[in-house]
């Protein structure tokens, strides 16, 4: 028996304009390039190696969380609002335990406890099917409360300046160690999302949960996995933050959840799930960080910068919705 497959003529496929075809892919690199040009015009300190390295160092801590948050977005898990709590758990534990069991074992404990919080989130959201927003809100409140009760609501100070020097130092005198760690995490996350089976499942779950379930993909596991990953990575970046500051208070992670969401959204990853990638999210983060850096060099104080961030998020998502409609994908 022969099966005759006719070649589908290209006319039957809706032809898209250049803008809607490449707009979403090219917008971010172009935007970053534009910021570099504008920044260089506005300040002669902007386009120096020292300044750009600083931008990279600043984005590393939140960048690690962005990698996890991208998985949550792609699997249509809305967002993880318990990030401040897991960051605080990592930071507080590593500094509390570093003189008892040494810094690196303490770091491991911090990451593991944060991961347990993530498992709880995953069970509740993936398996029990609760709404992610309210669940992570509640679990974040509980975890942060426990962390505070653990230290009595005070600041913890570290005892290991050696670890701090290692982390804030530079490899071969050029590459900051913390940036290197971030790049490794981002690369691993990218490979996991784009090349592994789990990554493909993540896209499938985000695009159509029912069809995916019918194809015998463990939908619940994939949904839970995204939250476990976010909590683990947030705990890890809390550990890094704690070590590099050598001081941690319970509010150390406040705002990181919104920063991570901002980066992912500006990178054009849709809340509806099923699309997006780690490089796009990191591109969004880089865009926000460069913009912030330009504003700082122009002497704009840090709080009013939120006006730009807010407008940026709204603009990015509105543009995304517009382009999707034009592309006829809605």
């Amino acid at each position: 028996m022969t099966i005759n497959i006719e070649t589908v003529s290209t006319d039957r496929v809706v032809k898209q304009g250049f803008l809607s075809r490449y707009g979403t892919t090219l917008a971010m690199p172009l935007g970053i390039l534009m910021l570099l040009v504008v920044g260089a015009f506005l300040s002669d300190r902007f386009l120096t190696i020292g300044n750009l390295t600083n931008v990279l160092i600043n984005m590393s801590i939140v960048g690690i969380i962005v990698v996890g948050m991208t998985f949550v977005f792609v699997s249509r898990g809305m967002a993880d609002l318990s990030v401040p709590a897991t960051v605080a758990v990592g930071g507080i534990l590593v500094l509390m335990l570093d003189d008892v069991i040494g810094t690196w074992p303490a770091a491991l404990v911090g990451v593991l406890i944060a991961a347990i919080a993530g498992v709880v989130n995953g069970l509740l959201i993936g398996y029990a099917g609760l709404n992610p927003v309210i669940t992570t809100l509640a679990s974040g409140t509980i975890v942060l409360g426990i962390a505070q009760a653990f230290v009595g609501g005070v600041i913890v100070y570290g005892q290991d300046p050696g670890a701090k020097e290692f982390l804030t130092g530079r490899l071969f005198g050029v590459v900051p160690v913390i940036v290197l760690i971030f790049l490794i995490v981002a690369l691993l996350g990218h490979l996991a999302l784009s090349r592994s089976v789990f990554g493909r499942w993540t896209y499938a779950v985000g695009s159509n949960p029912h069809a995916t379930e019918a194809s015998a993909v463990p939908v619940r596991l994939v949904k839970a996995g995204a939250f476990v990953m976010t909590a683990t990575l947030a705990g890890f970046s809390g550990v890094l933050l704690g070590i590099s500051l050598q001081a941690a208070r319970p509010a150390i992670g406040a705002g990181y959840e919104f920063d991570a969401i901002t980066a992912v959204v500006v990178g054009g990853v849709s809340l509806l799930g099923g699309s997006g990638s780690i490089p796009r999210a990191i591109g969004g983060l880089l865009f926000v960080q460069l913009l912030t850096n330009i504003l700082v060099l122009q002497g704009v104080p840090s709080e009013p910068q939120g006006m730009v961030k807010g407008a940026l998020i709204a603009g990015a998502v509105a543009l995304d919705v517009y382009l999707r409609r034009r592309g006829g994908r809605e």
Binding site: M78, A79, L124, A128, G129, L130, N131, V133, I134, T135, L137, A138, S139, G140, T141, I142, L144, G145, I146, Q148, A149, G153, P250, F258, I261, T262, V265, L271, L272, P301, E303, P304, Q305, G306, M307, V308, K309, G310, A311, L312, I313, A314, V317, A318, V321
Partner: protein, 347 residues
Amino acid sequence: MNAVRRAFDSDVFLGIVRYRVAIILVATVVISASLVPGILEFRALSLSLDRIGTTALVAVGLTLVLITGKLDLSGGAILALSGIAAIGLQEQFGQVPAALIGLAVGVAAGVVNGILVVVLQINSLVATLASMLFFRALCHFLTDSRPFSGLDPLFGLAVSRPIGGTFTLRTILFVALLVLVHLWLTRAVAGRNLFAVGSNAASAEASGIRSNGYVFGTFVFAGFTAGAAGVIQSLSVNTGSPVFGESTSLLAIAAVVIGGTRLEGGRGSALGTLGGLLVLAILTTAMEFSNIPAYTQSIVTGVILLLLILLDRFVSGKKGRDLSLTALLRSVRANRRHPENERTLAP
């Protein structure tokens, strides 16, 4: 196992779940009253109601937003912004006009949210996150990140003093608003339509309900109540501050959800929100009276919230039963007469 399942499936159990807010409220009151002497004194009650008042006003608007299936994170930031307007414009316009402008600022902020969600079609979580960042930053920009005080502290006293020795203005305001909203939701056609929009916006649209209009309206109303909360809060302490209300939105969401309103939309009740608020108010006051630290309080609040949404999730599949109080009483009475008929009575 079967017996357990039947117990979970019985009308009595579902009735308990349905009226859980009332049961939790009674339990909270009884436990607090037995552990903490003096909490049921009128003064203590009035005080704890006044303390939750600001959050409560935000929660009123939020109840409607949640019923339509949307989310509003920006209430706290709108609160701060209207407060700053009400205090900062006193010199130019006088005290009462400034307070009114503060209210208008809240409404305008709600309109912005409405435009983002309805016109630009942005997901409400992201849209109000953006507007929250924007409004909060605007507060910092306008005030240079410093709190400042108003002209006349006596003007604010009228707001914060209990009226006729009973309750403060904001307590009366939020209770009255919640009752009005409850009547609107249950008696008015428009109120019933709101539930339809929240359950399924597309089919609501198909049956002639303008879904977008309703969603827009709820955001404007939420902006208005957040604005009112901000004006009253700022007047009562005679201060405008960019950091007011930083945790208000999340606490208000917790109160609304404890009250039985679902984040997925289509289900909710204003009286439930009132119950949720009372639970939080009494719980906070009781724990503070017995010197329990703030972080333990947040653990307790979080656990209650989590248990409630879990409970809600596991019984949400059993819809379509008449669970009004009268029907429940009838079935309980019938069961007492013919216990073996329990299964046949459940439709």
